[in-house]
C-alpha cells in the first residue's frame, strides 16, 4: 500500500511543480466560484422577480372592480413558475421554457418569455453554472493534468525501471489514479461549497442533493480512471492527449448534440397551431354551441330542466348560462388534457431516446440525473404546466359557478342600458378565489427520477474500474 502512496505523492509533487497545471487548476477553481456566485445571484434574482410578478398579478386579480364573472374568466390570471433552490446549481431547461403563463377560459396558452428568446445568441454557447463547469470543463482539466501520467513514464523509459524495482503494474496504476483522483476531488470541492450554501436555503432537499453530489463524484472519478487508462494504453504522451481530447469531444460535445437531433427526428411533435385546430375540430364534433338546435346541447338542456323539474330555462333557480359555461369548460378542458398528454408522451419518448444515448455518452446520463434531481428537467416543467392547467380549470369553474348562482338568467340575457350594472357581482368575490401555489416535487420523486441517470454513470464507473484492473495487470508486459 505504501508503494501506491509514494507514487501518488510523487505524481502530485510533479503536478505542483508544473506551473501551467497549477495555473489551470487555479483558474478552474476560480471559474467554479464565479459560476456558483453568478448562478446563485441569478437564481435569487429570478426567484425574487417571479415572486414579485406573482404577487402583483394576485393583487391585480383581487383588485378588480365589480364585474360580470365571465369578464373575469377572460381577464384571466397570470402565474409564474417559481425557481427551486437547486436551480442555482443546475438551472436545467429553465432558460428554455417560458416561465409565465396567462390562464383564461376556453384557451390553453403557452408558457412564454423564456430567457432563450430574451438573451443574445451567447446563451446557446452554454450557461455558466457549477453544473456546466463540472460537466464540461472539469474533465478537460483532468485530461490536461493526467494524460502523461503513465505515457510519460513509458516514453522516457522510466516505466520499465519502476516495474523492474518491484512495483507492480496495479500499484503503479493505483498510485497515478489516486493522485489524479485527489485533484478531481479538489476540482469538485468549490462546487460542493456552493452546494452547501444552497443547502441552507428553505426548500433545499437533502435526498436530491446527495444524489447530485454522488453523481458528480462518480463522474469525476470516471474521468480520472479514463485519463489514466488511456495514458497507460498508448505509447506516447502526445497520443494520449490527442486520444483523450477526441474522447472528450465526442462524449461531452458531439454526442449530446447528435442525440437530441435523432430523438427529434424519431418522434416529431405536433405543432401548437395544429393542436389548436384539432381541438377546435373535436369540439365541433361534440356539439355546436352556436346552434340552438344542436343535439348535444339540446340534450344537456333537457337534462338540466329534468333535474330541476321545470319546463323552461327561465324558471330555473340558477342561471342557465352559467351552467352552460361550466359544461363547455369541462369539454374543452378534457380535450386540453388529452392533447397535452399526447404531446408530453411524445416528448417523453424523445427524452427516452436521448437518455438512451447515455449508454454511449455518460455526459447525457449525468446531465439528466443532475436536472432531474434539481427538478429543472422536462418533468419539472411538466409539473408546472399540469398544475397550471388544474388551477386554470379550478378558477374558471369557480367563476362559472358564480355566474350560475349570483347572476340571474334574466339579468344575464337582458340588453337594456341598465343591464350591464345588474350583471356585475361584487368585487369581494375576487378575494375568495385562491392564489396559485406551485407544489414542488417531493424529495422521493426527484431522487426516483434521477436514479436511471445515476445508474448509468455508476455503471460506467464500474466498467472503468474493470478496465483499469485489466489494463494495469498487463502493464508489466506492455512496459516498453
Amino acid at each position: 500500500m505504501s508503494a501506491v502512496r509514494l507514487i501518488a505523492r510523487d505524481e502530485l509533487r510533479l503536478m505542483r511543480r508544473n506551473r501551467v497545471a497549477v495555473i489551470a487548476f487555479a483558474l478552474l477553481v476560480l471559474l467554479t466560484l464565479i459560476a456558483a456566485m453568478t448562478s446563485w445571484t441569478h437564481q435569487q434574482g429570478v426567484a425574487d422577480l417571479r415572486a414579485r410578478f406573482q404577487s402583483e398579478a394576485d393583487r391585480a386579480f383581487d383588485a378588480q372592480p365589480d364585474r360580470h364573472p365571465h369578464r373575469v374568466v377572460h381577464y384571466g390570471h397570470f402565474i409564474f413558475r417559481p425557481l427551486g433552490p437547486l436551480a442555482a446549481f443546475d438551472p436545467g431547461v429553465d432558460a428554455f421554457t417560458g416561465n409565465s403563463m396567462f390562464l383564461e377560459g376556453h384557451r390553453q396558452n403557452t408558457a412564454n418569455f423564456g430567457d432563450v428568446r430574451q438573451s443574445s445568441q451567447l446563451i446557446r454557447f452554454g450557461q455558466l453554472t457549477p453544473a456546466f463547469v463540472l460537466q464540461i470543463l472539469a474533465p478537460l482539466l483532468l485530461i490536461f493534468l493526467g494524460y502523461g501520467a503513465l505515457a510519460r513514464e513509458r516514453e522516457r523509459g522510466t516505466l520499465r525501471q519502476l516495474l523492474a524495482q518491484g512495483v507492480s503494474g496495479r500499484q503503479l496504476f493505483a498510485g497515478k489514479a489516486v493522485a489524479l483522483g485527489l485533484v478531481a476531488i479538489l476540482i469538485g470541492l468549490p462546487a460542493m461549497i456552493g452546494f452547501a450554501l444552497i443547502a441552507g436555503q428553505p426548500g433545499a432537499l437533502a435526498g436530491p442533493m446527495a444524489v447530485i453530489a454522488l453523481g458528480y463524484a462518480a463522474w469525476l472519478l470516471l474521468w480520472t480512471l479514463v485519463v489514466v487508462l488511456v495514458s497507460a494504453s498508448v505509447a506516447r504522451s502526445r497520443d494520449a492527449l490527442l486520444a483523450l481530447l477526441a474522447i472528450w469531444a465526442v462524449a461531452v460535445i458531439l454526442l449530446p448534440r447528435i442525440a437530441p437531433d435523432i430523438a427529434g427526428q424519431a418522434h416529431p411533435l405536433t405543432t401548437r397551431l395544429e393542436t389548436d385546430i384539432a381541438i377546435q375540430r373535436d369540439l365541433r364534433q361534440l356539439g355546436d354551441s352556436h346552434n340552438a338546435d344542436d343535439p348535444f346541447f339540446a340534450a344537456f338542456k333537457q337534462k338540466i330542466l329534468d333535474q330541476y323539474g321545470v319546463a323552461r330555462v327561465e324558471d330555473l333557480p340558477v342561471n342557465y348560462k352559467g351552467l352552460l359555461a361550466i359544461e363547455g369548460e369541462k369539454l374543452t378542458s378534457r380535450l386540453f388534457d388529452r392533447y397535452a398528454a399526447n404531446s408530453f408522451a411524445t416528448q417523453s419518448r424523445q427524452s427516452t431516446v436521448m437518455n438512451g444515448f447515455g449508454l454511449l455518452s455518460p455526459t447525457i446520463a449525468l446531465r439528466h440525473l443532475s436536472m432531474a434531481a434539481a427538478g429543472t428537467d422536462l418533468a419539472g416543467h411538466r409539473r408546472f404546466l399540469d398544475q397550471a392547467e388544474a388551477y386554470r380549470f379550478d378558477i374558471v369553474q369557480r367563476l362559472n359557478r358564480l355566474q350560475a348562482e349570483a347572476v340571474s338568467y334574466a339579468d344575464d340575457t337582458a340588453k337594456d342600458p341598465g343591464a350591464d350594472r345588474r350583471k356585475r357581482v361584487a368585487d369581494s368575490h375576487w378575494d375568495r378565489i385562491p392564489d396559485f401555489a406551485f407544489r414542488p416535487a417531493s424529495a422521493t420523486a426527484l431522487v426516483g427520477a434521477a436514479l436511471p441517470g445515476l445508474a448509468i454513470v455508476i455503471g460506467w464507473l464500474f466498467a472503468a474500474i474493470a478496465a483499469a484492473w485489466f489494463v494495469s495487470g498487463r502493464l508489466q508486459r506492455n512496459s516498453k
Binding site: V20, A24, T38, F53, E56, A60, Y75, G76, F78, V93, F96, T97, G98, F102, N109, T110, A111, N112, F113, G114, V116, R117, Q118, S119, S120, Q121, L122, R124, F125, G126, Q127, L128, L140, F144, Y147, R238, L241, L242, L245, A249, L254, R257, P260, D261, A263, G264, T270, E274, D276, I277, R281, R284, D288, Q347, Q350, S351, M354, D377, K415, D416
Partner: protein, 420 residues
C-alpha cells in the same frame, strides 16, 4: 515526384491526419444532412397547416355566414402566418428551434398573441442543434489543432528540424506543408457545405460569403496554432496550449460574456408588457364606452364618421378597445425590442474579439435565423395583423353583413400589401 505530391503522400500516410480529415468530412456531411432534414421538416409543417387551417375557417364560415355577423367572424377566425426557412437555414438553425415559425393570429389585441411559444421539448433544445454552424465553430478548430500543433515540433522531435532548416528554400517546405493541410481541412468542411447549399438552392453570393467565412475562421485557428508552434515547445505542450485556447474561446468567454451582457443590459421583462396590455384591454369594460371610442378615433380618424354605438353591445367597441390596448403599450413594446437588440448588438460586437461568437453571428445573420430574423418575422406579422384589422373594421364600422364569400376576401399572409 513533385514536392506537393510528396507532401501529400506524407500527409496521407500519417494515420492520425488522414483519419482526422475523413472524420471531419463525415461529420460535416452528417450535419448538413441533419440541417437539410430539419429545414425540410419545417417546410412540410408550413405546407401541411394550410389545408387544416382552411378547414377550420370553413367550419367557422358555416355558422357565421348564417348570422352574417362581422364581429363573430373577426373574433373566431384565426389567420395563419409563417416564417419560411431561408435557403441557408440548414447550415445555421439559430433560433428556429425555440421560436415559433408558424403562428396564427386574429384581429384581437396583437400583443397578447405575438409572443406565444411553440411546442418543443426543452431537453432537446438545451444542448443545441447539430448543424453545420456547430461543426464549423466547435469541431473544426479541434481538427485544426490536431493537424497543426506539431507542424514544426514533430520534425524537431524526430531530430530532423535542424537538417530541414539547413536545406535551401526550407521556408517553402513549411508553406507547402501548411497550405496542404489547410486545404484539406478547408475542403473537408467546405465541400459538404457547398453540396448542401446547392441542394438547398442557396444563392451564389451567399455561398461565396459562407465559403469566405469558413476560410477566415479556419485561418484564425491555423494562425493561432502556428503562433503557438513557434514557441519551440514540445508537441504535447502545443496541443495542450491550443486545446486550452479553444476551451477559453468557445466555452468559457462566451458564457462569461453572456452573464455580463444580461447584467449590463437589463431588459424590462416581456411579461410586463403583456400584463400592462391586459389591464388596458380589460379596463375598457369599466369605463364609459365613449372614452374608448374617442381614443380609438383619435388614432383612426377614418372610422370617425360611422354610425354611433347602439345602446347594446357592439363588436366595433370590442375591437376598438383591443386596438387601444395595443396602442397603450406601444412604448413598452419599443423599449422591449430595443433591449433585445441591444443585447444582440453587444454579442455581435464581442464577435470581433471572439471568432467563434463572430462566426456564429455571421452565419445566423446570413441564414436569417438570428434575432433580426425573428424580429423581421414579427414585423411581418404586425403588418399583416394591421391589414386584418382594417379588413374587418370596414365591415364592423359600416355594419356590412359578413357572408361566406367575405371569408375568402380576408387578406392572406405573404401576399402583396395593397397600396393605400
Amino acid at each position: 515526384m513533385s514536392p506537393i505530391g510528396h507532401e501529400l503522400r506524407l500527409l496521407l500516410r500519417a494515420r492520425l491526419a488522414a483519419g482526422a480529415l475523413v472524420l471531419l468530412a463525415l461529420l460535416t456531411a452528417a450535419s448538413i444532412v441533419a440541417g437539410l432534414a430539419e429545414v425540410r421538416h419545417q417546410q412540410q409543417v408550413i405546407e401541411r397547416i394550410q389545408p387544416q387551417q382552411a378547414a377550420d375557417v370553413a367550419a367557422i364560415s358555416q355558422w357565421v355566414s348564417k348570422i352574417e355577423d362581422p364581429g363573430s367572424a373577426a373574433y373566431y377566425t384565426f389567420h395563419p402566418t409563417w416564417d419560411s426557412p431561408s435557403s441557408l437555414a440548414f447550415a445555421a438553425l439559430g433560433m428556429r428551434d425555440v421560436a415559433p415559425y408558424i403562428l396564427r393570429v386574429r384581429a384581437l389585441g396583437l400583443e397578447a398573441q405575438l409572443y406565444d411559444g411553440e411546442n418543443f421539448n426543452p431537453e432537446l433544445a438545451l444542448p443545441g442543434r447539430f448543424d453545420f454552424a456547430f461543426v464549423l465553430i466547435y469541431l473544426a478548430p479541434l481538427f485544426v489543432i490536431a493537424l497543426f500543433h506539431d507542424l514544426h515540433a514533430s520534425e524537431r522531435e524526430a531530430g530532423r528540424l535542424t537538417m530541414l532548416r539547413a536545406l535551401p528554400r526550407s521556408r517553402r517546405l513549411w508553406w507547402r506543408r501548411g497550405l496542404l493541410r489547410f486545404a484539406f481541412v478547408y475542403f473537408a468542411v467546405a465541400l459538404p457545405f457547398a453540396v448542401g447549399a446547392i441542394v438547398s438552392g442557396t444563392g451564389l453570393p451567399t455561398i461565396l460569403a459562407v465559403l469566405t467565412l469558413i476560410a477566415a475562421y479556419l485561418v484564425f485557428w491555423v494562425a493561432l496554432a502556428l503562433l503557438v508552434g513557434r514557441m519551440s515547445w514540445s508537441s504535447v505542450t502545443n496541443a495542450a496550449a491550443l486545446a486550452a485556447c479553444w476551451l477559453v474561446l468557445t466555452l468559457v468567454l462566451p458564457t462569461l460574456a453572456h452573464v455580463a451582457i444580461n447584467r449590463a443590459i437589463p431588459l424590462g421583462q416581456g411579461v410586463e408588457l403583456t400584463l400592462a396590455q391586459r389591464e388596458a384591454v380589460n379596463k375598457a369594460w369599466d369605463i364609459p364606452r365613449e372614452t374608448t371610442m374617442a381614443r380609438f378615433f383619435a388614432s383612426h380618424p377614418e372610422w370617425r364618421d360611422t354610425p354611433p354605438l347602439p345602446p347594446e353591445f357592439h363588436w366595433k367597441w370590442y375591437f376598438a378597445f383591443h386596438q387601444v390596448g395595443d396602442e397603450s403599450v406601444a412604448d413598452r413594446v419599443r423599449a422591449y425590442r430595443d433591449g433585445l437588440q441591444a443585447r444582440d448588438a453587444a454579442a455581435r460586437a464581442l464577435g470581433w474579439a471572439l471568432p467563434p461568437v463572430g462566426a456564429q453571428a455571421a452565419l445566423t445573420r446570413l441564414a436569417n435565423t438570428d434575432l433580426a430574423g425573428q424580429l423581421a418575422y414579427q414585423d411581418r406579422v404586425r403588418a399583416y395583423h394591421e391589414r386584418l384589422r382594417q379588413f374587418y373594421y370596414r365591415y364592423l364600422f359600416n355594419d356590412i353583413p359578413f357572408g361566406a364569400p367575405d371569408f375568402e376576401k380576408a387578406p392572406k399572409f405573404g401576399s402583396i400589401v395593397p397600396s393605400k
